[in-house]
C-alpha cells in the first residue's frame, strides 16, 4: 500500500493527529474516531478488510468538510478529504454510497443540487455581446438571490457583455465527486465542458469558489478541459479595478466588517488579500477574527457534511459564527454563497437580537462602484 493510491491514507493512519486541532469535525465532536488520523486508521483497516462494521466505517468517511484545514498544517501537505475521496469513488463504483447521499446523484437529472427549478432560475440572462459567462452555481441560485441580483446589476452597470447559461445551468459536479459518483461527475463534466466551450465567451466567472476550483483544477484531473479563462468573481473585480475600469467609493466608512475566508477560496485558489483589498476600498473597518486567511475555519457546509451529518455541520457553523461575532462586527462579508447561507441560517437561530448582516462581497461592493477613474 506504500506505493499505491492509498499511500497517504496509510501515512495519516500512523500520524499522531498533528492536524487534529485544525479539523472542524474533530473540534465539534471531540472523539478520537472522527479525528483526521482516527478516520484514516479506520479507512486503512477498512481497506485491509479488517473491519466488520462496514456501515459505520463508511459513514465515518463522510464526516469531513473537505476544507483542507489538515493540509495547511501537515508537514507532508496531505489533505485527508482529498484522500478519502478516493475511497468514496470506490464506494460509488460498488453502489455503496450511503442512502442519505443518494439525492446528490439526482443532480444528473435535476442539474442543480437543490432541484430543477434552480437550474432555470437565472438562465437566459444576456447583456450586449457576451464576453463573460456568469456561472451562478447551485447555492447562489437557491439561497442567495440578493447576491445574484447584485452581480447582474453590477455587470450591467459596468457594461460588461455577459450571459448566463442559455436554458439550464448544470452543476459543476463537485457534489457528485464528493459523494463518490465519479462516473456521473465525468458525465456532467463532459456536458458542461462541451456546452461552455461552444459558447463564444472568453471567460467564466463564478460566484462560488468551489465551481472555479472544480472547473480549473478538478476537471483536468478527470480528462475534462474547459477552454476558457475561469475566475472567481473576486479576481474578476480586482482586474476591473486594476485596469481602471471601475472605481470603488468609500461609501461604507462607518461599518465594522469581518471577512470570513471561504476554505476553497483561501486555501485552494489562494485568494486571501484580494477580497480584503476590495473591502478596504469601500472604507470599512476590517476586523480580525480568529482563524483567517489560509488558516480560516470551515462554516460547516464544506464537503457534503450538511447532508451526511447536519448536526455536526451545525455545531461547526455555530463555532465559526461565534469566532466571527467575537470581533463585534456589524457586517459579516464572505465570497461564497454556501458560507453566507450557512452563517445567515445560524445567525437567524440566535435567540438574542444580533443586528449583524451577512453579505456577499458583491452585495457589499456593487452599490459603491462607479465606472472609470
Amino acid at each position: 500500500m506504500w506505493r499505491g493510491k492509498y499511500r497517504n491514507i496509510l501515512i495519516c493512519s500512523v500520524c499522531p493527529n498533528i492536524c487534529g486541532a485544525n479539523c472542524p469535525v474533530f473540534l465539534a465532536k471531540n472523539t478520537e474516531t472522527v479525528s483526521p488520523s482516527g478516520k484514516a486508521r479506520v479507512a486503512y483497516l477498512y481497506l485491509k478488510k479488517k473491519i466488520l462494521d462496514v456501515t459505520n466505517s463508511v459513514n465515518l468517511f463522510y464526516l469531513c468538510t473537505e476544507c483542507s484545514a489538515c493540509q495547511i498544517i501537515c508537514p507532508l501537505n496531505i489533505s485527508l478529504g482529498e484522500e478519502l475521496r478516493k475511497i468514496k469513488e470506490e464506494l460509488g463504483e460498488n453502489n455503496l454510497v450511503p442512502f442519505y447521499l443518494k439525492q446528490v446523484k439526482e443532480i444528473t437529472e435535476k442539474m442543480n443540487l437543490f432541484g430543477m427549478e434552480y437550474s432555470e432560475k437565472y438562465a437566459g440572462e444576456k447583456e450586449g455581446k457576451p464576453e463573460v459567462l456568469l456561472y451562478i452555481g447551485c447555492s447562489a441560485s437557491r439561497f442567495r438571490g440578493k447576491t445574484v441580483e447584485a452581480v447582474i446589476n453590477f455587470l450591467r452597470k459596468t457594461k460588461t457583455g455577459f450571459m448566463t447559461s442559455p436554458v439550464h445551468e448544470k452543476c459543476c459536479g463537485l457534489p457528485l465527486l464528493q459523494a463518490g459518483f465519479k462516473k456521473e461527475f465525468i458525465e456532467i463534466g463532459k456536458v458542461n465542458a462541451e456546452e461552455i466551450n461552444n459558447l463564444e465567451v472568453k471567460e467564466i466567472i463564478t460566484l462560488c469558489p468551489s465551481c472555479t476550483y472544480t472547473f480549473k483544477e478538478i476537471y483536468p484531473k478527470y480528462g475534462l478541459k474547459i477552454k476558457k479563462r475561469i475566475k472567481h468573481i473576486t479576481s474578476f473585480l480586482i482586474e476591473l479595478v486594476n485596469k481602471g475600469k471601475i472605481k470603488i467609493g468609500k461609501y461604507r466608512e462607518k461599518e465594522r466588517v469581518v471577512y470570513h475566508d471561504p476554505c476553497i477560496l483561501a486555501r485552494q485558489l489562494n485568494i486571501v488579500n484580494e477580497p480584503r483589498f476590495l473591502l478596504r476600498k469601500t472604507g470599512v473597518k476590517i476586523l480580525s477574527p480568529p482563524h483567517k486567511g489560509k488558516e480560516t475555519f470551515c462554516c460547516g457546509s464544506g464537503g457534503l457534511l450538511r447532508f451526511s451529518n447536519p448536526k455536526i455541520a451545525e455545531e461547526i457553523a455555530k463555532k465559526r459564527l461565534k469566532d466571527l461575532l467575537s470581533t463585534k462586527p456589524e457586517v459579516i462579508v464572505s465570497a461564497c454563497p454556501t458560507c453566507e447561507e450557512t452563517l445567515q441560517k445560524q445567525l437567524n437561530q440566535i435567540e438574542w437580537k444580533v443586528r449583524v448582516q451577512v453579505r456577499d462581497i458583491m452585495e457589499h461592493i456593487h452599490e459603491t462602484v462607479t465606472i472609470g477613474n
Partner: protein, 483 residues
C-alpha cells in the same frame, strides 16, 4: 515486555447479561451520544502512539479493544462511571489525546475508556495570579491559542501539543520544549481536581507553595491513570515574552556542547530552549550548517528586552570559550518550523520496515558522559541497528535529559518484537547502570514497567504498590500500566 502477545488478547468477553447491565447504566449516566460500543470507536481507542503498536497496526492486527467508550461532559459523570466500574469490577482507561508512546492507553484488559476530550472548557484565566484553570480534556494547541489571544502563554509546548491534552500532560509528567526556563508540567501545576476510583472527587487548593504536609494531589503527577481520573487543573501562565533571541553554535563535539550548556546554567542563565545534538543527529538534521562530525547547539532566550540582550551576550561568550562557532538564527528557525513534525521521519521509516523508537532518560551532570557513551554503545552493538542518535533538550542546574532516537531493521532470523524489546532492554540496562533515570517525560506505561522496580528500589516499589492499593483497591484503574 517480553510477553507482548498479551497485548493482543482482545477485549474481555463479559457475560452478555453483565454487558447489557453495564451498557444500560452507562447510557443512563451519559446518554446515548456520549457512549459507544461501535467497532470503529473501540478500534480508535485501542492503540495510542506506541511505535511498536504502529507496526502491529499496519500488519492489520487488532489490538486489545475496550468494551465501551465513554465521553463524559462533567466531573460528576466521571464520578458516576467510576462508581459503576468499581461496582462491576470493570477496568477503566482514562484517555486524553492518545499520544502515549509507552502503551499507556492500550486497554490491555478491555473495559471502559473514559475519553476526557469533551471536558475541554477553560474555566478561568486569572491575570493577577497568572493562572489558567481548565478541564482536563482541553487540547494543548487550543489552550495555548486561547492563552495567546489574551496575551499569555503556558509555555508548556511538548512536541505532542497539537494532539495531547492537559490531563495527559499531568498523568505522564510531560515536558515542553521550553522547559529549561519554565519547568516541566510538575513545576507548572498549582492545583487539580481528580476523581478517585470510588467516585469521590478531590480538589486541591490553588496555592503558590505551602507547608501542610505531603500533598496528596501531587500523586496524580505521573500516575498514568492508575489512581483516578484527573478532571481539572490549574497551571501557571506567563505574559507572552517581549522579545526572543535565536542563537546557534557548532561545537567540535557533543561533549563540548554539553559542557557549554552546563556552564551557562551554572551562571544562572536559563534559556527557554537549549537543544544540543550529538554528532550523528547533527549530521542528520543540520548538515547544511555544520562540517563533518560537529555538534550543533541551538538556544532561545526570551523575556524582557533589557535582559535577553545580556543573556545572549553571556551565552555567546560561554560558547565561544568552549571553542564553538556562531551559526546564526537559521538552524533555530529550521527547528522552530519542524518541531511538531513527527510524521515525515515515520513515513520514511515504516515502508522500509525500520523498527524505531525514542528513549528519553536523564541524569545529573557527573553521570551524563558515561550515560551517553554507554547507552549509545549498547544500542549500536545490536545487529540490525542503523541509527542511535541523541540530543539533549531539557536542562537543569544539576543535569539534563538525553533523548535517543533508535532505528533498525531486524536481521532475517530475528522477530520484529524481539529486536524492538532487545534494544529497549539494552538501553534501559545501560541507563540504570550509569545512574540515569529511565524516563524523563514519556512515562512508564506498559513499556518500561519492567524496569521500574530497579529504578526506584524494591522498598519504594512496594510502597508505591500499597499507595496504589489505597486508591484503587478494586484494581480497576488502567490495569497493567506503571506498576
Amino acid at each position: 515486555m517480553n510477553n507482548y502477545k498479551e497485548i493482543y488478547t482482545g477485549k474481555i468477553k463479559f457475560p452478555e447479561e453483565k454487558k447489557r447491565r453495564i451498557k444500560k447504566k452507562l447510557v443512563k449516566i451519559l446518554d446515548e451520544k456520549n457512549f459507544s460500543e461501535k467497532e470503529i470507536d473501540l478500534i480508535s481507542y485501542s492503540r495510542g502512539y506506541w511505535p511498536i503498536s504502529l507496526q502491529w497496526f499496519l500488519k492489520g492486527y487488532l489490538p486489545s479493544l475496550p468494551n465501551f467508550v465513554t465521553w463524559p461532559i462533567n466531573t460528576e459523570q466521571v464520578s458516576e462511571i467510576l462508581k459503576l466500574a468499581k461496582e462491576e469490577k470493570v477496568p477503566v482507561i482514562p484517555y486524553g489525546g492518545g499520544t502515549s508512546v509507552t502503551g499507556g492507553v492500550v486497554p490491555l484488559k478491555g473495559g471502559i475508556v473514559i475519553d476526557l476530550k469533551k471536558m475541554n472548557k477553560i474555566i478561568e484565566i486569572n491575570d493577577l495570579d497568572l493562572t489558567v484553570t481548565a478541564e482536563a480534556g482541553i487540547n494543548g494547541k487550543i489552550l495555548e491559542e486561547k492563552l495567546n489571544s489574551r496575551g499569555y502563554t503556558s509555555r508548556h509546548i511538548p512536541q505532542s501539543l497539537p494532539a495531547s491534552t492537559l490531563g495527559g500532560w499531568i498523568a505522564t509528567k510531560a515536558a515542553g520544549q521550553f522547559s529549561t526556563k519554565y519547568g516541566k508540567i510538575e513545576n507548572l501545576v498549582l492545583g487539580l481536581e481528580a476523581v478517585l476510583p470510588n467516585g469521590e472527587i478531590i480538589n486541591s487548593k490553588i496555592k503558590p507553595a505551602s507547608s501542610t504536609g505531603p500533598e496528596i494531589e501531587k500523586l496524580f503527577l505521573g500516575s498514568e491513570g492508575t489512581i483516578g481520573v484527573i478532571t481539572k487543573a490549574t497551571l501557571k501562565i506567563w505574559p507572552l515574552p517581549e522579545e526572543k533571541k535565536l542563537l546557534s553554535f557548532k561545537f567540535k563535539s557533543f561533549t563540548e556542547s554539553l559542557e557549554a550548556a552546563r556552564k551557562i546554567l551554572r551562571k544562572g542563565i536559563y534559556p527557554a530552549v537549549i537543544r544540543l545534538y550529538d554528532e550523528d543527529e547533527t549530521e542528520l538534521k543540520f548538515q547544511d550548517f555544520t562540517e563533518d562530525r560537529e555538534s550543533l547547539g541551538i538556544f532561545i532566550v526570551e523575556g524582557m528586552k533589557e535582559i535577553t540582550g545580556q543573556e545572549k551576550k553571556a551565552i555567546e561568550r560561554i560558547c565561544k570559550n568552549e571553542g564553538a562557532k556562531n551559526c546564526g538564527e537559521e538552524p533555530v528557525k529550521k527547528w522552530l518550523n519542524e518541531r511538531f513534525d513527527v510524521i515525515t521521519d515515520i513515513s520514511q521509516y515504516l515502508p522500509m520496515k525500520v523498527v524505531f523508537d525514542t528513549v528519553e532518560v536523564a541524569a545529573t551532570w557527573s553521570k551524563i558522559p558515561t550515560l551517553y557513551r554507554k547507552m549509545k554503545k549498547e544500542i549500536s552493538s545490536i545487529e540490525g541497528v542503523l541509527l542511535s542518535s541523541a540530543h539533549a533538550s531539557h536542562f537543569y542546574l544539576n543535569g539534563a535529559c538525553l533523548y535517543f532516537t533508535i532505528g533498525g531493521i531486524p536481521p532475517e532470523d530475528v522477530k520484529l518484537e524481539d529486536f524492538y524489546f532487545n534494544f529497549w532492554s539494552k538501553a534501559m540496562k545501560a541507563c540504570l547502570e550509569s545512574g540515569g533515570t529511565i524516563s524523563h517525560h514519556h512515562g512508564i506505561g506498559l513499556l518500561r514497567k519492567k524496569w521500574l522496580k530497579e529504578e526506584i528500589g524494591e522498598s519504594t516499589y512496594r510502597l508505591l504498590k500499597k499507595i496504589k492499593e489505597v486508591f484503587d483497591s478494586s484494581e480497576i484503574m488502567n490495569p497493567g500500566k506503571l506498576i
